[in-house]
Each structure stands twice: as structure tokens, then as C-alpha cells.
């Protein structure tokens, strides 16, 4: 066997090693129930849960606690996942400022007793940045100033 062949085999082995190791690191999208089961079985890796915020009739977010004067690094809120399970989520960092405007939230973390401990939050906001969402409201306001 030539050296180049041995070398090729080593490279392929390394590449496969990378893939396997990466697959081990990969997280997954789960529901809160699954997240709780995974936490029960001692799984420590973070998972992704997609959910919606609980809102009242006025569109205000309910069950949200952030009191910076007491602890600026404690923020909790309630999320409803796709299976309609309601879950308290705790995030040990300041409340993201545009949190109130978001609809869909992805939390990344683990289940921890009675709550989901989020290490990271991804917010999906209804955005003016999206193309072709012409707000007619804005237009009317502008017409009034002409």
C-alpha cells in the first residue's frame, strides 16, 4: 500500500470522526414534555423548544417577571409549546429589550425541576424589516402631514 493511500484513509477517518462527534453535539427541537423526560434520564445537553408567549386579551404578555432593582439577572416568563403545554421559563440574564414585541420564541436550555432553564433565547419579531409589509397605518399618518 502506498503512503498516499494510508494518508487518504487517515483523512477519511478524521472526517468521519468529525461527523460523529458533531452529531453528538447536535441539539434537537423538542416539546417541554420531551425535554422533561430527557432531563429525567440525566441528559445534560441543551435542547431547543419552540413556543408562544401567553398573552391576555389586550395582547399584553402575562406571567412575566423582571425586577431589575431586585435582581437584574433574573427574568422569567411562560411559554406554550406546540403541544400546548404551559411552562415556566427562567433566563438568568436581563430581559431582552424587544421581548414584549415578539410572538414566537425559541428557548435553548434544559429542564430544571419546575422550570425550563434557558441559556439562550431566540426571538422572532414581526418585523418592519420584512420586505413588502407596507404598513398602511404609517401611510395614513404621513398623508395627514402633507
Amino acid at each position: 500500500m502506498k503512503k498516499t493511500h494510508i494518508f487518504g484513509i487517515i483523512i477519511i477517518a478524521l472526517a468521519i470522526g468529525i461527523i460523529i462527534s458533531t452529531a453528538g453535539d447536535a441539539s434537537s427541537y423538542v416539546s417541554f414534555t420531551q425535554a422533561a423526560e430527557m432531563a429525567q434520564s440525566g441528559e445534560k445537553d441543551g435542547v431547543h423548544v419552540v413556543g408562544k408567549l401567553t398573552k391576555d386579551a389586550q395582547g399584553q404578555i402575562t406571567n412575566m417577571v423582571y425586577q431589575p432593582q431586585i435582581d437584574p439577572n433574573h427574568f422569567e416568563f411562560t411559554l406554550v409549546d406546540n403541544e400546548n403545554r404551559t411552562q415556566k421559563v427562567v433566563y438568568n440574564a436581563p430581559k431582552p429589550q424587544d421581548f414584549d414585541r415578539s410572538e414566537q420564541v425559541v428557548v435553548i436550555g434544559t429542564m430544571n425541576g419546575d422550570h425550563f432553564q434557558a441559556d439562550k433565547i431566540l426571538l422572532k419579531c414581526p418585523s418592519k424589516y420584512q420586505e413588502n409589509k407596507l404598513e398602511t397605518k404609517e401611510y395614513e399618518a404621513k398623508k395627514a402631514t402633507i
Partner: protein, 883 residues
């Protein structure tokens, strides 16, 4: 009035540019495929060549026409055009109007086209076929590929719709009413022209965003050159010779693309709040991968002449780096990254088109490589372990493995999509801790790469003996001593960091010793060593600034203040990285004494920030004045009066700066102004913090505001509460203890003396806060027989106190108090040590790449001109017939 002409001209130019690119492709293809009859017929061949070049030059001019038309629309504020309306506005300063050009996807494709057109003209000039003396250069086959890519890119902005759904490209010249036919305003008034544009996302209003995109796209464009030469070489059965013209361009491309990537990182460092220059975000990764592959390709090209393995690698990698650029474009433009990236680009419905291009070029490349694989000569003898070919090849392979790891993880969303297409759901999400995931691999890869740069250079310059690497022992020992000292001094404990540190130090030592040796001979040859030193410095900068950044703002008070078990039970210390600063209340933090001094605003043309409440923004003004305000004070700085009270001043109303005063242990004071931006484009009323950075030689102090009181509740006061009390009484107001000390007479209110029949008194009220007390003096005035009350407001307490009534019979005083949210910021600060090494390393890297590119370009022109002088008989057929 709607200016339709300029848009129509622009669109015409787009169509022309597409057609001319196709013409150039066909004409160059004809020349490339020329059989004997055409080659004998000089006249016809010359005509084809005229047609091909002419078409490409006209194509270049039409691209300039498109660019000019779009700029014309943007600069003249023609908001009837969707592009101008969507990305620009009257408030936008001139320098950022330029960058609104490439804010949209169409504009960025246009930028790419623009660079390609310029590069194409340069390449035609430097690789001309010159039949008069019979030499054959790379022009025809290489430009066939080039023009074809250009046609594909031009079709991306073509904006032609067939039927209702099938569309090719997205035109930047759409009128607003065409882009949004459903908007109700257009049914009532089809000629409606908005007064103002939506404006550029304020985050992008940064000088880096003026130069980062053009640089990055120049990098994108230049990766096409090695690809085009490589395809041309395979096509013309010259699997080796293409590397000579391609190499200087590959080096140039690696330099420009590398700088472009780092500019993006620097922008993120200065503007975003994720706390660093690199976040392993899919968008960043997707362009890092082709860069790493390109660097590997350069190394393979260096050995490709001698080693057949090297040549095969060079071919595969040159082709891959361009294909990976297309893949990166596909990832970022298709919206596929949706859930996994903070950047999200909107889908213009062009992802299918992009996918087709990517697959088409991939297919061309794979078929061609497979067909011509046999042409690559086998090595006569096997590569020795002590040869430069062997070590440079290993280096290229490790670079490839590193980029493969990044590529694999970044492609997760693609795997999900492919899985869904085949009817199952792989359900893989990005690793929960992305940064740790990538670092885990990349630290080791780059440690190996750093070591290889040293070994490779030693062998390259034949500093080692034939059968051993003993010459490397001295630099190895020196590096071990230096890094050992650094490890001990810097208290470095992680094995991975130790390895990277030692490897980087070794790279610097070994390459420097080579550099000194080479410079003595001919400095022009030292590009490689210089580049490697730059890369190693960058690695050290990354290692220290990211691996050893220190949180300054540890919140030690959080646990103490909070009595509720709910707030304390699960909180670990690492998470307590933010502190709350109340207005004007100093707080100790890692040796610094920090004080939040209040909100500031920037007035255009005035050097320093001014207090936010010195300016009253104009609300509901006409678009020309939408970003203006009225000065409520004289604006005077450094002895110069910029604006008088009552002047209208131009602002950046979306930005608020939070003045944070740092007092060092030695008593030195400096001030940082982290920014908060009300960014309407990132969700309605969104708040985006940007850091302020104090740059010191050894470290950066990085500070940003995590959260502030809700700006919407600002200025709202609670209903008044009244107190009837006598002097020296104590009362509670807004949870503070307050003491009404006494009453004092005054003859002056607000600097205005009172008349002889007027009277005024001030109540002296002390309010006790935790650590200090404040004195509030509300006044009660009788002037011209009328009663006036002058309340006093204290921002630190969020308290307004008014003396309402004095009852002479009972001796009781009535006060009313309103409270509001006290002003505060929650902020985070950290130190990033030795980050300057990263920037210095970048400069060194750029110098090294430039030196190497210049050297290789000289080699190329020398060989080309030598070939030209040789009288070549026409009968020397193009190598087509060699198979």
C-alpha cells in the same frame, strides 16, 4: 410625480447586460472550440475575437449604467421606487446613502457584477490572445467561464416574470406600486409617492458598512478567477499551466476576502452586543469556509508543479472555493437559515435560481475534472516525508478538515430541508452552545496548522537536512521556553489553550527566523513567512481576548438584596454578569467606581454628546425635519457656541447614549458612552444596545447596556399623593423617608427677582436614600396677587414634590408628590486582553499576502512575455488535439 424614465433606462441596462454577457459567452466559446478551419481563417477568428471582447466591454458599460441609474434614484430621493423607499430616507447622512445601495439583495448582486466586470476587463488585458505573433493565452476559455458566471449573476437582477409565478431575478428598479400592488393607497391614488423612505436599519449606519460589503464582494468576485483558470486549464488539457496565472489572483483573493471577513467581525465587535468579533454564526461561517479552502488551494498550487497529489488537490480546492462561495450565497439568500441565525436575510424567491446555478457549476466542474483526471501525470517517485511537498500538503489538508467541520455543522438546516424533501424529519438543531462546539474542534486544528507553518517554511527554504528535521530543534526549544513562561505568567490551565499558545509561539519563532534569513537574500520572497507570522499573531489575539476575557461587572449585590428564595436558589455566580446602576449613584465594580450620569444625544455637527433633555425632538414634522429637534439650551463646547437656545438642530433621534463614568483605583476618570438604539426595523420599538469600547494597548474594556427602563413609560408620573404636615415632620414618599426641615424665604425665583409686593417661600425637604440624602426645595410664590407653585423634580429619586398650600391657622403645609420610574441602566462590562494582537496580526497577514501576490504576478508576466517573444508557428495547434 413619478419618474419612470430612469427606472426604465436602468432596467434596459440590466437586460442589455444580460444579453451582452451571453453574447460574450457564446463568442468566447466559439473561439475556444475553434477547430482547424477557423484557426486557419485568421480573418474570421479576429472577427469572433472582436465580437467577444466588444460584447464584454459593452457588458461592463451596461453594468456601470445600471449602477449609475440606481445611484441616481437613491441620491435624488425617488421614493416612488421600492429600492429607494425601502433602504434610504431623508434623514440618512450622505455617506450612508452610498451604503443603502448594497443594503438590498439586488444591490449586493449588482456589487458582485460590478467587481466581476472590472476584473474581467483586467483579465482580458493581461491574458490577451495575440494571434499576430501566434501566441495563445488564456483569454478565450477563461473568459467563457467568466462571462457565463456574469450572465447568471445578471439574470439574478433581471426581474422578468413569465406568467404569474415563474420569475427570473428581482429587479432593483421596481416602482413601489409594482412591488406592492396590494397596498390600499394605490387603489385610491396610483401616483402616490411617499414623502420619505423607510430608511436604513440604524445598525448598519456605521462606517464599516460603507467599506465592508464592497470588500467582501470583491473577495467573492476574485474567487471566480482561480476557478475560471482551472476550468480553462482542464478544458484545454493543460492541467498544470493554469496555476501560474491563477496563483497571484488566488493570493489577492485570499487577502481581500480575509480582510472583508474581519471587517465584518470588527463591525460586529463595535456594534452588536454579543460581546465579540466572532460568534460562529452561520452567516459568518459560510464565508469563512471558502476562505479556508482558498488558503488551502493556494498551498496546493505551490506544490502542484512538482507533486501530482498536490496538483489534484489544487484543482479540487480551487474549484471548491468558488462553489462554496455560491453555497454561502445560497445559504444567506434563501432564508434557509431562518431559525439558526441572528442575521436573517429575506427570501426574494430566488433561492431556486441560486440553487440551479450552484448545481450547474458544480456539475460542469465535476464532469470536467472526471474527464480530464487521467491527464494528470503520476509522480515518478513517491513523495518523501522530508520534502516540502509532503508538509505543505499536510497543511492544506488540515485546513480542509477545519473548514469541513465548520461546513458540516453550518449545514444542519440544509440537512433538515433535504430530509424533509425525502419525507422524514432529521430534527437536528444547532448545538446548544455553538461557540463551545466550534472552539472545541478549531482550537486543535489551528494549533496543528500553526505548527505546520513553522515546519513547512523550514523545509521550503531547505533549512533542514535531507533525512531529518533536526534544524527545527532550536526554534522548538526557544518556543517552549517562551510559551512556558507565558503559561505560567498568564495562569493558563486548559490543555487546548496551552497547545494553541505553544503552537502559535512556535509559528512566530520559526517563521521569524526564516524571515530574517530570507530578507538577507531577497525580501520579495518573504511573503509566506510574513503571512504566517500574521496568522499566528491573530491566533494569539483570539486566544487571549476570547479565552481570557474577564467580566468586570460581577453583580455581588444581587444575592444580598434579594431576600426571596425564588430569586436566589438556582442562580449561579457565572450568570450574574450584569449590574444595575442607578442614576448618579456610584457603585464599586472590580476596582472601578462606576457612575451612570444620564442619557445623552448626538447633535449632527457637534463633537460631543449633549444631555438628552437639552433637546426637544420634533414629532410629526414634515419628512425634511423628521430627524430634527429644538435646542432648549445654548449648545457650547470647548469655547465654541454651536447652537443657540431655540435653534433647530439635526439629530440622530434613534440613538441614546448612556454616560457611564469609570473611576480607576488611581483616581483617573474616563467616560464611556454605550448606545441604545430604538430600532424600528428590528421589531416595532425594538431596543438594540451597542457597546462602547475603551481601547488600551494591553486590553479593551468593553461596556454595553443590557436593558434600560421601558422608554414608553418614560415621563409618566403617578397620580399625586398629598401630605399635610408640620415642619420637622417625617413622612414616607415613594418608599423613601423624607424630613420636612423648615421653610425659608426667598426673593428670587429662577433668577428673577420678585417685586416689592410679592413673596415667596421654599420648603426644605430632605429625602433619605440608602447611601445619600437629597434636598428638594419646592417653592410657593405670591406674585401680582396670584399664587404660583414651583415643584422640584429629582431624577435620581424619580420624585416630584410640590408645595400646594400653607395654612397659617394650623401651621400645616400641604405637599403633593408624584413619582416616576427612577432612571437606571443594567450594564455589562468585560475586559478583552491582547485583542490588539488580532488587529496587528491582520495587518501583517495583509502585507504578507500582498507581497506574495506581487511576487507571483511578476513571475506570471515574466513567463508570459517570454512566451510572446518566441516565434510560434501557427501550426502549433492548440492542445485540443492532444488527447
Amino acid at each position: 410625480m413619478i419618474h419612470t424614465t430612469v427606472g426604465q433606462i436602468g432596467h434596459l441596462f440590466v437586460i442589455l447586460s444580460f444579453v451582452t454577457a451571453l453574447m460574450a459567452t457564446v463568442a468566447y466559446l466559439r473561439i475556444s472550440l475553434a477547430g482547424n478551419d477557423l484557426l486557419q481563417n485568421k480573418r474570421e477568428l479576429t472577427q469572433w475575437r472582436w465580437l467577444a471582447r466588444g460584447a464584454f466591454y459593452v457588458h461592463g458599460l451596461t453594468i456601470l449604467g445600471v449602477v449609475g441609474s440606481l445611484f441616481y434614484i437613491i441620491f435624488n430621493n425617488y421614493y416612488e421606487y421600492h429600492y429607494a423607499w425601502n433602504y434610504s430616507s431623508r434623514a440618512l447622512p450622505a455617506e450612508y446613502v452610498i451604503s443603502s445601495f448594497w443594503h438590498g439583495q439586488e444591490g449586493s448582486f449588482l456589487l458582485w457584477l460590478f467587481w466581476n466586470a472590472i476584473l474581467g476587463v483586467v483579465l482580458i488585458q493581461t491574458n490577451r490572445d495575440d494571434r499576430t505573433n501566434g501566441t495563445r493565452q488564456w483569454e478565450a476559455p477563461m473568459m467563457t467561464v467568466f462571462a457565463l458566471v456574469q450572465a447568471f449573476l445578471a439574470s439574478m437582477i433581471l426581474g422578468v416574470v413569465f406568467g404569474d409565478t415563474f420569475k427570473i431575478g428581482s429587479s432593483p428598479f421596481l416602482l413601489l406600486r409594482e412591488a406592492m400592488p396590494d397596498a390600499p393607497i394605490f387603489t385610491s391614488n396610483p401616483n402616490y409617492v411617499p414623502e420619505d423612505g423607510k430608511g436604513m436599519n440604524p445598525l448598519l449606519q456605521n462606517y464599516w458598512m460603507v467599506i465592508h460589503p464592497p470588500t467582501l464582494f470583491l473577495g467573492y468576485a476574485t474567487t471566480l478567477i482561480p476557478f475560471a483558470f482551472c476550468i480553462a486549464g482542464l478544458w484545454k488539457n493543460e492541467p498544470k499551466e493554469w496555476m501560474r496565472p491563477a496563483l497571484p489572483w488566488a493570493l489577492f483573493s485570499a487577502m481581500v476576502l480575509g480582510v472583508g471577513i474581519l471587517m465584518g467581525g470588527y463591525w460586529a465587535y463595535e456594534t452588536l452586543n454579543f460581546g465579540g468579533y466572532w460568534n460562529w454564526d452561520p452567516v459568518e461561517n459560510s464565508v469563512l469556509v471558502p476562505w479556508l479552502v482558498l488558503v488551502a488551494a493556494i498551498h496546493a498550487m505551490l506544490i502542484g508543479k512538482k507533486s501530482s497529489t498536490g496538483l489534484k488537490t489544487a484543482i479540487i480546492l480551487s474549484v471548491s472555493s468558488f462553489l462554496l462561495i455560491l453555497y454561502s450565497t445560497f445559504l444567506t439568500r434563501s432564508g434557509i437559515l431562518g431559525n439558526s441565525s441572528v442575521h436573517s436575510f429575506t427570501d426574494l424567491g430566488l433561492s431556486g435560481q441560486l440553487l440551479i446555478y450552484m448545481l450547474a457549476f458544480m456539475a460542469i466542474a465535476i464532469v470536467l475534472i472526471a474527464a480530464k483526471w487521467k491527464l494528470i501525470e503520476k509522480d515518478e517517485e513517491e513523495t518523501s516525508v522530508y520534502s516540502k511537498e509532503f508538509w505543505v500538503f499536510i497543511g492544506a489538508i488540515v485546513l480542509c478538515l477545519a473548514s469541513f467541520q465548520v461546513l458540516n455543522t453550518t449545514s444542519f438546516p440544509v440537512y433538515n430541508k433535504i430530509g424533509e424533501a425525502f419525507g422524514f424529519n432529521p430534527n437536528i438543531a444547532m448545538p446548544a452552545d455553538q461557540v463551545a462546539h466550534f472552539n472545541k474542534f478549531q482550537v486543535w486544528f489551528f494549533a496543528v496548522i500553526a505548527v505546520l507553518t513553522g515546519i513547512g517554511q523550514y523545509i521550503w527554504w531547505r533549512k533542514t537536512a535531507k533525512n531529518n528535521l533536526n534544524a527545527l530543534i532550536t526554534p522548538a526549544i526557544i518556543s517552549l521556553v517562551i510559551s512556558g513562561a507565558l503559561i505560567a505568567y498568564g495562569n493558563i490551565t486548559k490543555p487546548a489553550f496551552m497547545a494553541l499558545l505553544t503552537a502559535s509561539v512556535f509559528a512566530i519563532v520559526a517563521n521569524s527566523s526564516i524571515l530574517i534569513g530570507v530578507v538577507r537574500g531577497n525580501y520579495k520572497l518573504s511573503g509566506g513567512a510574513v503571512t504566517h507570522i500574521g496568522a499566528a499573531l491573530m491566533l494569539l489575539g483570539v486566544l487571549f481576548s476570547s479565552g481570557y476575557s474577564k467580566i468586570v461587572s460581577i453583580n455581588n449585590t444581587g444575592l444580598l438584596i434579594s431576600k426571596s428564595e425564588d430569586f436566589t436558589k438556582n442562580d449561579n455566580k457565572e450568570n450574574k454578569e450584569n449590574v444595575i446602576l442607578w442614576l448618579n449613584q456610584p457603585q464599586k465594580m472590580s476596582g472601578y467606581l462606576l457612575t451612570y450620569r444620564g442619557k445623552r444625544i448626538e447633535i449632527r455637527g457637534v463633537p460631543d454628546y449633549v444631555p438628552r433633555d437639552w433637546v426637544e425632538p420634533l414629532v410629526g414634522a414634515s419628512p425634511e425635519f423628521s430627524y430634527h429637534g429644538i435646542a432648549l439650551h445654548d449648545i457650547e463646547q470647548n469655547g465654541k457656541l454651536y447652537h443657540k437656545k431655540g435653534d433647530t438642530v439635526a439629530l440622530h433621534p434613534e440613538n441614546t447614549y448612556y454616560e457611564v463614568e469609570y473611576r480607576e483605583p488611581g483616581g483617573k476618570v474616563f467616560t464611556l458612552f454605550p448606545r441604545g438604539q430604538i430600532n424600528e426595523q428590528m421589531g416595532e420599538g425594538g431596543f438594540l444596545p451597542s457597546p462602547d469600547i475603551r481601547r488600551m494597548p494591553g486590553k479593551d474594556l468593553y461596556t454595553y447596556v443590557a436593558t434600560v427602563p421601558d422608554p414608553n413609560s418614560e415621563g409618566t408620573w403617578s397620580p399625586a399623593e398629598t401630605y399635610r404636615i408640620a415642619p420637622r415632620d417625617t413622612f414616607f414618599v415613594n418608599d423613601y423617608v423624607a424630613v420636612f426641615d423648615n421653610i425659608e424665604q426667598t426673593r428670587e425665583i429662577d433668577g428673577t427677582p420678585l417685586g416689592p409686593n410679592d413673596a415667596a417661600v421654599k420648603a426644605v425637604v430632605r429625602v433619605l436614600d440608602k447611601e445619600r440624602e437629597y434636598v428638594l426645595k419646592p417653592a410657593f410664590i405670591i406674585k401680582d396677587r396670584l399664587v404660583g407653585r414651583k415643584a422640584e423634580t429629582n431624577d435620581e429619586l424619580g420624585l416630584r414634590l410640590q408645595l400646594d398650600e400653607i395654612d397659617p391657622r394650623t401651621g400645616l403645609f400641604t405637599f403633593s408628590a408624584n413619582t416616576t420610574q427612577r432612571d437606571y441602566i443594567v450594564m455589562k462590562a468585560k475586559e478583552m486582553p491582547l485583542i490588539n494582537l488580532l488587529w496587528i496580526g491582520t495587518f501583517v497577514l495583509v502585507i504578507g499576502f500582498s507581497m506574495a501576490a506581487v511576487r507571483r504576478y511578476r513571475e506570471f508576466t515574466k513567463m508570459r512575455d517570454k512566451d510572446k517573444k518566441k516565434p510560434v508557428v501557427v501550426a502549433k495547434q492548440p492542445t485540443v488535439n492532444r488527447i
